[in-house]
Symmetry: C2
Amino acid sequence: MASCVMKRAGSSAIQSVSAALRIRSYAKIASGTDIVSAAPNVSLQKARTWDEGVDSKFSTTPIKDIFKDKKVVIFGLPGAYTGVCSSKHVPPYKDNIEKFKAKGIDSVVCVAINDPYTMHAWAEKLQAKDAIEFYGDFDGSFHKSLELVTDLSGALLGTRSERWSAYVVDGKVKTLNVEEAPSDVKVSGADTILGQI
Amino acid sequence: MASCVMKRAGSSAIQSVSAALRIRSYAKIASGTDIVSAAPNVSLQKARTWDEGVDSKFSTTPIKDIFKDKKVVIFGLPGAYTGVCSSKHVPPYKDNIEKFKAKGIDSVVCVAINDPYTMHAWAEKLQAKDAIEFYGDFDGSFHKSLELVTDLSGALLGTRSERWSAYVVDGKVKTLNVEEAPSDVKVSGADTILGQI
Protein backbone atom coordinates (compact mmCIF):
# COMPACT_ATOMS: atom_id res chain seq x y z
CA MET A 1 0.00 0.00 0.00
CA ALA A 2 2.05 2.86 -1.33
CA SER A 3 -0.49 5.55 -0.68
CA CYS A 4 -0.78 7.00 2.76
CA VAL A 5 -3.65 7.51 5.14
CA MET A 6 -2.74 11.17 5.29
CA LYS A 7 -3.60 11.41 1.61
CA ARG A 8 -6.69 9.26 1.37
CA ALA A 9 -8.45 11.28 4.06
CA GLY A 10 -8.51 14.26 1.77
CA SER A 11 -9.39 16.70 4.55
CA SER A 12 -8.58 20.37 4.25
CA ALA A 13 -6.27 20.02 7.26
CA ILE A 14 -4.22 17.39 5.47
CA GLN A 15 -4.24 19.27 2.22
CA SER A 16 -2.98 22.41 3.91
CA VAL A 17 -0.22 20.44 5.61
CA SER A 18 0.75 18.88 2.29
CA ALA A 19 0.65 22.24 0.55
CA ALA A 20 2.83 23.78 3.21
CA LEU A 21 5.31 20.99 2.82
CA ARG A 22 5.65 21.41 -0.92
CA ILE A 23 7.03 24.89 -0.48
CA ARG A 24 9.31 24.08 2.44
CA SER A 25 12.96 25.04 2.26
CA TYR A 26 15.54 22.37 1.65
CA ALA A 27 17.41 20.67 4.46
CA LYS A 28 20.65 22.14 5.70
CA ILE A 29 22.52 18.93 5.09
CA ALA A 30 23.33 17.38 1.73
CA SER A 31 25.73 14.88 0.25
CA GLY A 32 29.15 15.74 1.63
CA THR A 33 27.96 17.49 4.79
CA ASP A 34 29.52 16.53 8.11
CA ILE A 35 26.40 15.73 10.12
CA VAL A 36 28.24 16.14 13.44
CA SER A 37 29.34 19.65 12.54
CA ALA A 38 25.87 20.47 11.23
CA ALA A 39 24.38 19.66 14.63
CA PRO A 40 27.02 20.96 17.07
CA ASN A 41 26.56 20.14 20.75
CA VAL A 42 23.41 18.18 19.98
CA SER A 43 22.53 14.89 21.59
CA LEU A 44 19.84 12.31 21.00
CA GLN A 45 18.19 10.16 23.63
CA LYS A 46 18.40 6.40 23.29
CA ALA A 47 14.96 4.80 23.46
CA ARG A 48 14.40 3.19 26.84
CA THR A 49 11.81 2.61 29.51
CA TRP A 50 11.27 5.30 32.11
CA ASP A 51 12.97 3.14 34.75
CA GLU A 52 15.98 2.68 32.46
CA GLY A 53 15.97 6.44 31.94
CA VAL A 54 16.11 6.99 35.69
CA ASP A 55 18.85 4.37 36.11
CA SER A 56 20.87 6.09 33.34
CA LYS A 57 20.40 9.42 35.14
CA PHE A 58 18.65 10.57 31.99
CA SER A 59 21.84 10.31 29.96
CA THR A 60 21.93 11.40 26.34
CA THR A 61 24.02 10.32 23.35
CA PRO A 62 26.17 12.94 21.59
CA ILE A 63 25.72 12.84 17.81
CA LYS A 64 29.39 12.08 17.29
CA ASP A 65 29.06 8.85 19.30
CA ILE A 66 26.42 7.67 16.86
CA PHE A 67 28.41 8.42 13.69
CA LYS A 68 32.14 8.47 14.53
CA ASP A 69 34.08 5.73 12.71
CA LYS A 70 30.85 4.02 11.68
CA LYS A 71 28.78 3.35 8.61
CA VAL A 72 25.27 4.35 9.58
CA VAL A 73 21.89 4.33 7.87
CA ILE A 74 19.60 6.77 9.63
CA PHE A 75 15.97 7.50 8.91
CA GLY A 76 13.62 10.02 10.46
CA LEU A 77 9.85 10.14 10.55
CA PRO A 78 7.06 12.35 11.88
CA GLY A 79 6.39 10.38 15.00
CA ALA A 80 5.71 7.27 16.98
CA TYR A 81 2.22 5.84 16.56
CA THR A 82 1.53 7.86 13.43
CA GLY A 83 -0.18 5.14 11.50
CA VAL A 84 0.17 3.14 8.38
CA CYS A 85 2.97 5.22 6.87
CA SER A 86 5.19 5.09 9.91
CA SER A 87 4.44 1.45 10.36
CA LYS A 88 5.30 0.81 6.74
CA HIS A 89 8.43 2.89 6.99
CA VAL A 90 10.01 0.97 9.86
CA PRO A 91 9.29 -2.70 8.96
CA PRO A 92 11.29 -2.81 5.69
CA TYR A 93 14.33 -1.48 7.57
CA LYS A 94 13.84 -4.18 10.17
CA ASP A 95 13.19 -6.93 7.62
CA ASN A 96 16.28 -5.98 5.61
CA ILE A 97 18.64 -5.69 8.54
CA GLU A 98 20.80 -8.60 7.33
CA LYS A 99 21.21 -6.94 3.91
CA PHE A 100 22.36 -3.74 5.63
CA LYS A 101 24.82 -5.73 7.74
CA ALA A 102 26.07 -7.55 4.64
CA LYS A 103 26.87 -4.18 3.10
CA GLY A 104 28.98 -3.26 6.11
CA ILE A 105 26.45 -1.02 7.86
CA ASP A 106 27.25 -0.83 11.58
CA SER A 107 23.88 0.49 12.67
CA VAL A 108 20.45 1.36 11.34
CA VAL A 109 19.03 4.25 13.32
CA CYS A 110 15.44 5.51 13.55
CA VAL A 111 14.81 8.95 15.03
CA ALA A 112 11.75 11.12 15.63
CA ILE A 113 10.75 14.17 17.63
CA ASN A 114 9.39 12.16 20.54
CA ASP A 115 10.61 11.45 24.03
CA PRO A 116 12.72 8.30 24.42
CA TYR A 117 10.09 6.48 26.50
CA THR A 118 7.42 6.83 23.83
CA MET A 119 9.98 5.78 21.20
CA HIS A 120 10.81 2.69 23.26
CA ALA A 121 7.17 1.66 23.67
CA TRP A 122 6.57 2.12 19.96
CA ALA A 123 9.71 0.18 18.99
CA GLU A 124 8.57 -2.67 21.21
CA LYS A 125 5.14 -2.64 19.62
CA LEU A 126 6.78 -2.85 16.20
CA GLN A 127 9.09 -5.62 17.47
CA ALA A 128 11.93 -3.72 15.84
CA LYS A 129 14.17 -2.69 18.70
CA ASP A 130 16.60 -5.57 18.33
CA ALA A 131 17.33 -4.74 14.69
CA ILE A 132 17.10 -0.95 14.73
CA GLU A 133 18.50 1.61 17.17
CA PHE A 134 15.70 3.99 18.12
CA TYR A 135 16.42 7.48 19.41
CA GLY A 136 14.23 10.31 20.59
CA ASP A 137 14.88 13.95 19.71
CA PHE A 138 12.56 15.20 22.43
CA ASP A 139 13.21 18.93 21.94
CA GLY A 140 13.74 18.69 18.19
CA SER A 141 17.24 20.15 18.45
CA PHE A 142 18.75 17.57 16.09
CA HIS A 143 16.14 18.03 13.38
CA LYS A 144 16.12 21.81 13.82
CA SER A 145 19.90 21.89 13.37
CA LEU A 146 19.53 19.93 10.13
CA GLU A 147 16.52 22.02 9.04
CA LEU A 148 14.45 18.89 8.79
CA VAL A 149 11.46 20.03 10.82
CA THR A 150 7.95 20.79 9.67
CA ASP A 151 4.74 21.98 11.30
CA LEU A 152 2.28 19.11 11.49
CA SER A 153 -0.20 20.83 13.80
CA GLY A 154 -2.90 20.12 11.22
CA ALA A 155 -2.41 16.44 12.03
CA LEU A 156 -2.41 17.17 15.81
CA LEU A 157 1.33 16.57 16.06
CA GLY A 158 3.00 20.01 16.25
CA THR A 159 6.62 20.48 15.21
CA ARG A 160 7.91 17.18 13.88
CA SER A 161 10.52 15.71 11.61
CA GLU A 162 10.31 15.45 7.87
CA ARG A 163 10.38 11.87 6.59
CA TRP A 164 13.95 11.30 5.48
CA SER A 165 16.86 8.88 5.28
CA ALA A 166 20.61 9.20 4.97
CA TYR A 167 23.67 7.03 4.51
CA VAL A 168 26.45 8.43 6.66
CA VAL A 169 30.07 7.26 6.79
CA ASP A 170 32.21 8.51 9.69
CA GLY A 171 29.88 11.49 10.02
CA LYS A 172 29.94 12.42 6.32
CA VAL A 173 26.59 12.32 4.54
CA LYS A 174 26.92 10.17 1.43
CA THR A 175 23.29 10.31 0.37
CA LEU A 176 20.28 12.16 1.72
CA ASN A 177 16.66 11.45 0.80
CA VAL A 178 13.89 13.78 2.00
CA GLU A 179 10.27 13.13 1.08
CA GLU A 180 8.41 15.97 -0.60
CA ALA A 181 5.60 15.36 1.91
CA PRO A 182 5.98 13.41 5.16
CA SER A 183 3.02 11.29 4.11
CA ASP A 184 5.13 9.82 1.30
CA VAL A 185 7.50 6.87 1.45
CA LYS A 186 8.83 7.32 -2.07
CA VAL A 187 12.54 8.03 -1.55
CA SER A 188 13.25 7.37 2.13
CA GLY A 189 12.47 3.66 2.31
CA ALA A 190 14.83 0.79 3.00
CA ASP A 191 14.93 -0.46 -0.59
CA THR A 192 16.05 2.92 -1.94
CA ILE A 193 18.92 3.39 0.47
CA LEU A 194 20.01 -0.23 0.10
CA GLY A 195 20.59 0.60 -3.57
CA GLN A 196 22.60 3.70 -2.63
CA ILE A 197 25.13 1.99 -0.36
CA MET B 1 4.90 2.56 46.74
CA ALA B 2 4.37 6.21 47.49
CA SER B 3 7.85 7.33 46.55
CA CYS B 4 8.66 7.90 42.95
CA VAL B 5 11.38 6.74 40.63
CA MET B 6 12.15 10.36 39.87
CA LYS B 7 13.16 10.77 43.48
CA ARG B 8 15.03 7.57 44.17
CA ALA B 9 17.37 8.19 41.27
CA GLY B 10 18.79 11.20 43.08
CA SER B 11 20.53 12.56 40.00
CA SER B 12 21.43 16.20 39.75
CA ALA B 13 19.08 16.50 36.77
CA ILE B 14 16.15 15.35 38.87
CA GLN B 15 17.17 17.47 41.81
CA SER B 16 17.37 20.55 39.65
CA VAL B 17 13.95 19.79 38.17
CA SER B 18 12.52 19.34 41.65
CA ALA B 19 14.17 22.52 42.88
CA ALA B 20 12.80 24.47 39.95
CA LEU B 21 9.34 23.16 40.69
CA ARG B 22 9.39 24.24 44.31
CA ILE B 23 9.69 27.86 43.26
CA ARG B 24 7.21 27.69 40.40
CA SER B 25 4.37 30.16 40.28
CA TYR B 26 0.91 28.97 41.18
CA ALA B 27 -1.56 27.84 38.58
CA LYS B 28 -3.85 30.40 37.00
CA ILE B 29 -6.95 28.47 38.01
CA ALA B 30 -8.22 27.96 41.54
CA SER B 31 -11.43 27.05 43.29
CA GLY B 32 -14.16 29.13 41.69
CA THR B 33 -12.43 29.67 38.35
CA ASP B 34 -14.36 29.03 35.15
CA ILE B 35 -12.00 26.63 33.40
CA VAL B 36 -13.58 27.33 29.98
CA SER B 37 -12.96 31.07 30.32
CA ALA B 38 -9.43 30.42 31.62
CA ALA B 39 -8.58 28.55 28.42
CA PRO B 40 -10.44 30.51 25.73
CA ASN B 41 -10.54 29.05 22.24
CA VAL B 42 -8.57 26.04 23.39
CA SER B 43 -9.30 22.49 22.31
CA LEU B 44 -8.03 19.10 23.37
CA GLN B 45 -7.61 16.07 21.14
CA LYS B 46 -9.45 12.89 22.03
CA ALA B 47 -7.09 9.93 22.22
CA ARG B 48 -7.43 7.76 19.14
CA THR B 49 -5.46 5.70 16.67
CA TRP B 50 -3.87 7.45 13.72
CA ASP B 51 -6.45 5.92 11.37
CA GLU B 52 -9.25 7.17 13.60
CA GLY B 53 -7.56 10.57 13.56
CA VAL B 54 -7.58 10.58 9.79
CA ASP B 55 -11.21 9.43 9.65
CA SER B 56 -12.15 12.23 12.07
CA LYS B 57 -10.33 14.72 9.82
CA PHE B 58 -8.12 15.41 12.82
CA SER B 59 -11.02 16.89 14.75
CA THR B 60 -10.50 18.44 18.16
CA THR B 61 -12.74 18.88 21.19
CA PRO B 62 -13.43 22.40 22.47
CA ILE B 63 -12.93 22.67 26.23
CA LYS B 64 -16.54 23.70 26.73
CA ASP B 65 -17.75 20.41 25.23
CA ILE B 66 -15.84 18.54 27.92
CA PHE B 67 -17.17 20.56 30.87
CA LYS B 68 -20.52 22.15 29.88
CA ASP B 69 -23.42 20.86 32.03
CA LYS B 70 -21.25 18.05 33.40
CA LYS B 71 -19.61 17.00 36.62
CA VAL B 72 -16.04 16.18 35.64
CA VAL B 73 -12.98 14.90 37.46
CA ILE B 74 -9.89 15.78 35.43
CA PHE B 75 -6.30 14.90 36.16
CA GLY B 76 -3.12 15.86 34.34
CA LEU B 77 0.30 14.26 34.38
CA PRO B 78 3.74 14.77 32.83
CA GLY B 79 3.33 12.27 30.05
CA ALA B 80 2.50 8.93 28.58
CA TYR B 81 5.00 6.18 29.32
CA THR B 82 6.64 8.11 32.16
CA GLY B 83 7.00 5.27 34.54
CA VAL B 84 5.90 4.15 37.92
CA CYS B 85 4.32 7.42 38.97
CA SER B 86 2.20 7.83 35.88
CA SER B 87 1.24 4.20 35.99
CA LYS B 88 0.31 4.54 39.64
CA HIS B 89 -1.56 7.75 38.99
CA VAL B 90 -3.94 6.34 36.39
CA PRO B 91 -4.89 2.91 37.85
CA PRO B 92 -6.62 4.19 41.03
CA TYR B 93 -8.80 6.44 38.87
CA LYS B 94 -9.65 3.45 36.70
CA ASP B 95 -10.20 1.12 39.65
CA ASN B 96 -12.50 3.62 41.40
CA ILE B 97 -14.57 4.51 38.37
CA GLU B 98 -17.76 3.07 39.92
CA LYS B 99 -17.25 5.22 43.03
CA PHE B 100 -16.92 8.30 40.82
CA LYS B 101 -20.08 7.37 38.94
CA ALA B 102 -21.91 6.74 42.23
CA LYS B 103 -21.06 10.29 43.24
CA GLY B 104 -22.63 11.60 40.06
CA ILE B 105 -19.45 12.21 38.08
CA ASP B 106 -20.20 12.18 34.35
CA SER B 107 -16.63 11.69 33.19
CA VAL B 108 -13.12 11.13 34.51
CA VAL B 109 -10.63 12.74 32.17
CA CYS B 110 -6.87 12.22 31.88
CA VAL B 111 -4.82 14.77 29.94
CA ALA B 112 -1.14 15.22 29.14
CA ILE B 113 1.05 17.18 26.74
CA ASN B 114 1.27 14.37 24.21
CA ASP B 115 -0.26 13.77 20.81
CA PRO B 116 -3.58 11.88 20.83
CA TYR B 117 -2.10 8.79 19.13
CA THR B 118 0.53 8.31 21.81
CA MET B 119 -2.13 8.91 24.47
CA HIS B 120 -4.31 6.25 22.87
CA ALA B 121 -1.54 3.66 22.74
CA TRP B 122 -0.66 4.34 26.35
CA ALA B 123 -4.30 4.16 27.49
CA GLU B 124 -4.63 0.82 25.76
CA LYS B 125 -1.49 -0.46 27.44
CA LEU B 126 -2.94 0.58 30.81
CA GLN B 127 -6.28 -1.02 29.87
CA ALA B 128 -7.91 2.17 31.10
CA LYS B 129 -9.56 3.66 28.04
CA ASP B 130 -13.01 2.25 28.75
CA ALA B 131 -13.17 3.84 32.20
CA ILE B 132 -11.28 7.09 31.61
CA GLU B 133 -11.47 9.62 28.77
CA PHE B 134 -7.93 10.33 27.58
CA TYR B 135 -7.07 13.54 25.77
CA GLY B 136 -3.87 14.89 24.29
CA ASP B 137 -2.82 18.53 24.58
CA PHE B 138 -0.30 18.22 21.79
CA ASP B 139 0.83 21.84 21.70
CA GLY B 140 0.37 22.42 25.43
CA SER B 141 -2.11 25.24 24.83
CA PHE B 142 -4.53 23.98 27.49
CA HIS B 143 -1.91 23.62 30.19
CA LYS B 144 -0.21 26.89 29.20
CA SER B 145 -3.54 28.72 29.50
CA LEU B 146 -3.98 27.29 32.99
CA GLU B 147 -0.31 27.95 33.89
CA LEU B 148 0.15 24.29 34.67
CA VAL B 149 3.27 23.67 32.59
CA THR B 150 6.78 22.93 33.75
CA ASP B 151 10.13 22.32 32.06
CA LEU B 152 11.04 18.65 32.40
CA SER B 153 13.94 18.74 29.94
CA GLY B 154 16.13 17.28 32.69
CA ALA B 155 14.03 14.13 32.42
CA LEU B 156 14.21 14.22 28.58
CA LEU B 157 10.59 15.33 28.27
CA GLY B 158 10.63 19.06 27.53
CA THR B 159 7.65 21.25 28.37
CA ARG B 160 5.06 19.12 30.10
CA SER B 161 2.15 19.33 32.48
CA GLU B 162 2.34 19.53 36.23
CA ARG B 163 0.74 16.61 38.01
CA TRP B 164 -2.69 17.86 39.06
CA SER B 165 -6.35 17.04 39.51
CA ALA B 166 -9.55 19.05 39.65
CA TYR B 167 -13.24 18.55 40.30
CA VAL B 168 -15.17 20.73 37.87
CA VAL B 169 -18.95 21.29 37.80
CA ASP B 170 -20.40 22.91 34.66
CA GLY B 171 -17.00 24.47 33.99
CA LYS B 172 -16.52 25.85 37.50
CA VAL B 173 -13.49 24.53 39.39
CA LYS B 174 -14.67 23.24 42.77
CA THR B 175 -11.30 21.89 43.95
CA LEU B 176 -7.82 22.00 42.44
CA ASN B 177 -4.88 19.88 43.57
CA VAL B 178 -1.41 20.53 42.13
CA GLU B 179 1.56 18.48 43.27
CA GLU B 180 4.54 20.41 44.58
CA ALA B 181 6.71 18.26 42.29
CA PRO B 182 5.39 16.23 39.34
CA SER B 183 7.12 13.19 40.81
CA ASP B 184 4.66 13.25 43.73
CA VAL B 185 1.23 11.68 43.92
CA LYS B 186 0.36 13.17 47.29
CA VAL B 187 -2.65 15.38 46.54
CA SER B 188 -3.69 14.57 42.96
CA GLY B 189 -4.65 10.92 43.37
CA ALA B 190 -8.08 9.33 43.03
CA ASP B 191 -8.59 8.81 46.77
CA THR B 192 -8.05 12.49 47.55
CA ILE B 193 -10.49 13.81 45.00
CA LEU B 194 -13.08 11.18 45.86
CA GLY B 195 -13.09 12.71 49.33
CA GLN B 196 -13.54 16.21 47.89
CA ILE B 197 -16.62 15.48 45.79
